[in-house]
């Protein structure tokens, strides 16, 4: 199956604030067909961005468009867009089939039965379609939400944390399904706070942190930026003072601090440092007791990208 169009999502200098709190700060980007990952820690502004793209939130400034038309207060945009919201709530008293039928009916689809069956089969929920959604597992609820979002065959799919609650097997199925949809020419935008999910799936990535766009582009170049940033390691050894002096004499190390807990070593090159340290240890006969990266959380990676 192929999808007409090659739809594009465009954000032009978009901001959103709540009183004095700025949730999204002057963000511009364009999303083309294929899979784009919207990556950022919790609270970064991912859902706010997706809600604006889905026409469910008015931008305080700037323009959000799908295929050249603004999304806010324009219900017709939903002929092009399918949304899988983050919240788990799905009508618990409807069966899976009824939920998809509800979506199909509200879209006014002709040949509804065929569309409903196709959507249920795509998410592999046909065998459980006549069970109430209230009895579904988290993963099944995610998949029935996806079935509801794609029943009208939209060229644009927006998914907010679609892998939440899924077990590894369900994740793989979902990866496969999203890849298939991207190969059909759809524009798939999904948010996640988990780097590995986006890495495995997305062709391009948008990194948001504290409401700002920290980086955008293909995943490999962003991954390189993340790896090449300055790193701080906590080191304990049999002779911290001597090891500190030896390391400071080498190129990739630009700072060493010694305190009661050991050494804090600052390096500008992650790879070079990991090669250098064993050589220094071997030549000096110093024994390594502990080596720990102190700022390897995703949060610090995002903070670095924003501050670049």
């Amino acid at each position: 199956m192929t999808v007409n169009g090659g739809s594009r999502i465009i954000l032009d200098h978009v901001s959103r604030w709540y009183g004095n709190v700025v949730a999204v700060n002057d963000i511009s980007f364009e999303v083309a067909p294929g899979i784009t990952g919207l990556l950022g820690p919790n609270g970064a502004g991912k859902s706010t961005l997706l809600h604006m793209i889905a026409g469910l939130l008015q931008p305080s400034a700037g323009v959000v468009e799908v295929d050249g038309a603004p999304t806010w207060r324009r219900p017709q945009v939903y002929r092009q867009v399918g949304l899988v919201p983050e919240r788990e709530s799905v009508y618990p008293y409807l069966t899976g089939r009824e939920f998809v039928a509800l979506n199909a009916s509200l879209h006014g689809l002709p040949l509804r039965e065929a569309a409903i069956s196709r959507a249920l089969e795509r998410v592999e929920l046909a065998p459980a379609a006549d069970r109430r959604v209230g009895t579904y597992s988290k993963g099944m609820r995610q998949r029935i939400k996806l079935a509801g979002a794609l029943v009208h065959d939209p060229p644009v799919l927006v998914l907010d944390e679609p892998f939440n609650g899924m077990d590894p097997r369900q994740r793989l199925q979902m990866f496969e399904l999203l890849r298939t949809m991207a190969n059909e020419g759809r524009t798939v935008l999904l948010s996640s706070h988990i780097l590995e999910e986006v890495e495995r799936l997305a062709d391009s990535v948008l990194v948001v942190y504290a409401g700002r766009l920290a980086a955008a582009g293909d995943f490999r170049s962003i991954r390189r930026l993340m790896t090449d940033r300055p790193h701080v390691f906590s080191v304990r050894s049999s002779d911290d003072r001597r090891l500190g002096a030896l390391l400071l004499a080498e190129d990739p190390v630009f700072g060493v601090e010694l305190d009661a807990s050991g050494l804090r070593v600052r390096t500008s090159d992650f790879g070079a440092f990991t090669r250098l340290l064993p050589m220094v240890l071997q030549s000096s006969g110093i024994r390594l007791l502990e080596l720990r990266p102190t700022d390897d959380s995703l949060e610090s990676v995002f903070a670095y990208l924003v501050g670049r």
Binding site: H51, S89, L94
Partner: protein, 241 residues
């Protein structure tokens, strides 16, 4: 049904698939049981004008409050409204469907309750079937206005139940008895005016006329549905990050 009338079927399932249905049935049965027990014991305790207290003032606003605030309010609270709002559907269609279902349920229950109360009263030889029917039809119309009002409230605030109860108890109950002007904005007074007219009791001295009652109920319905539609078309999804 969900494929032909999706919004109606969805609202109906949402309202009926819960304990509240049984609670509402029990509430509607209270006046019937009270009057039936008294009549069975041979007491002629009920006259036509008592339908004011038995039905219009008590059971009607409570049933309308529960169905009216739940029809849209529960979807807004639980977040399922997203599935309706992300469709190429006019917001007025969503509101009208929800008001129709909640009002239909309220009207059916309150009419049955009023008519059964009239029949129960007749056991003691006091024929109140006409009064029961008259107040039943008036309450059904009043129920539509109440539901529209409470549904509109739920579109604006998560405290619709408390504010609706305050409207019924304080505005219509306390202030309605003290300040004549407040009756012009009272669904209860408008419903009573219709009920008294159709039961052949004529307008009460302090109450609204039949014509005023009709106009006020119509205004409540139109204004409330318009406000709820306006609100829903500007609804913004907050939360998340």
């Amino acid at each position: 049904m969900i494929e032909r009338l999706p919004l109606v079927a969805l609202t109906l399932r949402g309202l009926l698939d819960r304990k509240r249905t049984w609670l509402m049935l029990a509430l509607a049965a209270v006046p019937v049981l009270l009057v039936g027990l008294a009549a069975g014991a041979g007491h002629r305790v009920v006259e036509a004008h008592n339908f004011n207290l038995l039905i219009v003032t008590t059971v009607l606003p409570l049933i309308a409050l529960v169905f009216g605030t739940a029809a849209l309010g529960s979807e807004l609270e639980e977040g399922t409204v997203v599935y309706l709002l992300t469709k190429p559907v006019r917001r007025s269609r969503i509101v009208v469907a929800k008001v129709s279902v909640a009002a239909g349920l309220t009207a059916a229950l309150i009419f049955a309750s009023s008519l059964a109360t009239g029949l129960a009263a007749s056991l003691s030889g006091n024929d109140l079937v006409r009064a029961g029917t008259a107040f039943g039809v008036a309450s059904a119309l009043g129920g539509v206005a109440y539901v529209a009002l409470f549904l509109a409230l739920s579109a604006f605030t998560t405290r619709a139940l408390a504010i609706g109860l305050a409207y019924v108890m304080l505005w219509e109950g306390v202030l309605g008895g003290l300040l004549e002007g407040t009756r012009m904005l009272s669904v209860r007074q408008a419903t009573l005016a219709l009920g008294r007219e159709w039961a052949g009791l004529g307008p009460s001295r302090e109450g609204l006329s039949y014509e005023q009652g009709l106009v006020i109920l119509a205004l409540f319905i139109v204004v409330a549905v318009s406000l709820a539609t306006w609100r829903l078309s500007r609804y913004q999804l907050r939360g998340g990050d």
